[in-house]
């Protein structure tokens, strides 16, 4: 098989518009508005766990 990897690059690097980025950024800040800062490793572990849970409990 004569594979040219360049033909597949778009499958792994998709464009994203500035408008979508700004909307995502706005949403991120909105969600973070009431959150406490992460100050230590325990906070970080808890934040990672909460983030993962949001995907699996939806």
């Amino acid at each position: 098989v004569n594979i040219n990897a360049n033909i597949a690059i778009h499958d792994w690097d998709k464009d994203i518009s500035r408008e979508e980025l700004l909307a995502r950024l706005a949403n991120l800040k909105r969600r973070t508005g009431q959150s406490l800062p992460i100050l230590d490793d325990d906070d970080l572990e808890a934040a990672i766990e909460e983030a993962a849970d949001r995907f699996t409990t939806e």
Binding site: W12, D13, D15, I38, A51, T56
Partner: protein, 358 residues
């Protein structure tokens, strides 16, 4: 027309930077202005601090870039209260007050007599209940005024951007109430500026790395946002970090791993189908088949190998950079690349060579 478009552009971006979604606000175009109503769940301190600040920064940027003939100077009035919607639009005494503040001679003169680009006038209620208690709103930058419009008189507070007295300190009688400790804020406003730039510059890059593992653009984008959210909450520390991108990539990978483990427990995946497509020759149909075969082969790689292979051989990142991003020794990255090439070689029955398939 150009000024009008520019005005909307800076407003939309100011809202986005402030963390308020433009499309959740009610808008009424007023020709040379705009009425906006924000729902009650939008934190009021954003209206007092982030939105005017971002709006002023964007106006300044626009005015600096464009000539004096297209210069924009704005008056912005803010009040909060009850509004009723009917078939003709929106009504309410609070709305009337906001318009009276906006059209007051005091607001117009304050802006006209200054070189400022934005005059913000807020009602006395809004100042006392929101501005005064929010350190980010810089309550001492406001001056009290009594406005007179259509025979009515109301107390209000005016602030200019840029602030003509940025270092003004509160006096004992000007701001008598204790300012609460804002230690729970994730970061300062200055930090937020840095984060915005970082986010806009790095989101796509980090999402690509996550997708190399997830093979799911939606999941990759959402996981990247979760990792970025964590970064935002510890930005005070990360902004001085030697490799903040690497931290976020590792955080995203950890979130993704947890998700995948939990999903695998709940819904075990079927064993991956064997490769079915192979083709030879320069024919376009063969090329398409080859591409599909490569994609399928990549999907069968162990996640760690696929991640390194895509980052290096497809997205063209140097091994050293991949090692930094994934917090791995370079030799581990090389080992994974070697293993990925060997696996692909076996799957595709092709000699990919030491440098990969390029």
């Amino acid at each position: 027309m150009a000024i009008r478009q520019a005005l909307y552009r800076v407003l939309v971006e100011a809202f986005a930077r402030s963390g308020v979604r433009w499309d959740e606000a009610y808008h009424e175009d007023r020709g040379d202005g705009l009425l906006m109503l924000l729902p009650p769940d939008v934190p009021k301190h954003l209206m007092a601090a982030a939105i005017p600040k971002e709006l002023a920064a964007l106006l300044h940027e626009y005015n600096h870039t464009n000539g004096p003939q297209t210069r924009i100077r704005l008056r912005l009035a803010i009040h909060a209260g009850e509004i009723r919607h009917d078939e003709h639009g929106v009504v309410g005494a609070s709305l009337n007050l906001a318009f009276r503040l906006l059209d007051s001679i005091e607001a117009k003169n304050t802006l006209a007599r200054s070189s400022a680009e934005l005059a913000l006038i807020v009602s006395d209620w809004f100042y006392e209940e929101v501005v005064r208690f929010d350190p980010a709103s810089a309550s001492t930058a406001y001056q009290p005024v009594t406005v007179h419009v259509r025979g009515t008189e109301a107390s209000a507070w005016i602030r200019l951007f840029p602030d003509p007295q940025p270092s003004a300190q509160p006096t004992s009688d000007h701001n008598p109430r204790q300012v609460p400790d804002h230690g729970n804020e994730p970061h300062t406003e200055a930090d937020a500026d840095d984060f915005d730039k970082f986010y806009l510059a790095n989101f796509r890059f980090i999402r690509n790395i996550v997708n190399a593992r997830a093979q799911d653009w939606t999941l990759a984008e959402d996981v990247t946002d979760e990792a970025m959210t964590i970064a935002y909450r510890k930005w005070d520390e990360l902004r001085g970090h030697p490799n903040p991108t690497g931290f976020i990539v590792v955080t995203a990978r950890r979130i993704l791993s947890r998700i995948q483990r939990q999903r695998a427990r709940n819904h075990p995946l079927p064993i991956e189908a064997a490769l079915e497509l192979k083709a030879v020759g320069p024919d376009p149909a063969d090329t398409a088949v080859n591409r599909t075969a490569l994609e399928q082969a990549l999907r069968t790689l162990p996640t760690d190998q696929r991640e390194c292979f895509i980052l290096h051989h497809i997205l063209d990142h140097p091994i050293r950079r991949i090692a930094e991003l994934l917090n791995l020794p370079e030799r581990t990255v090389k080992t994974r690349l070697r293993a990925a090439r060997q696996t692909l070689r076996d799957l595709l029955n092709e000699d990919l060579g030491e440098e990969g398939p390029k």
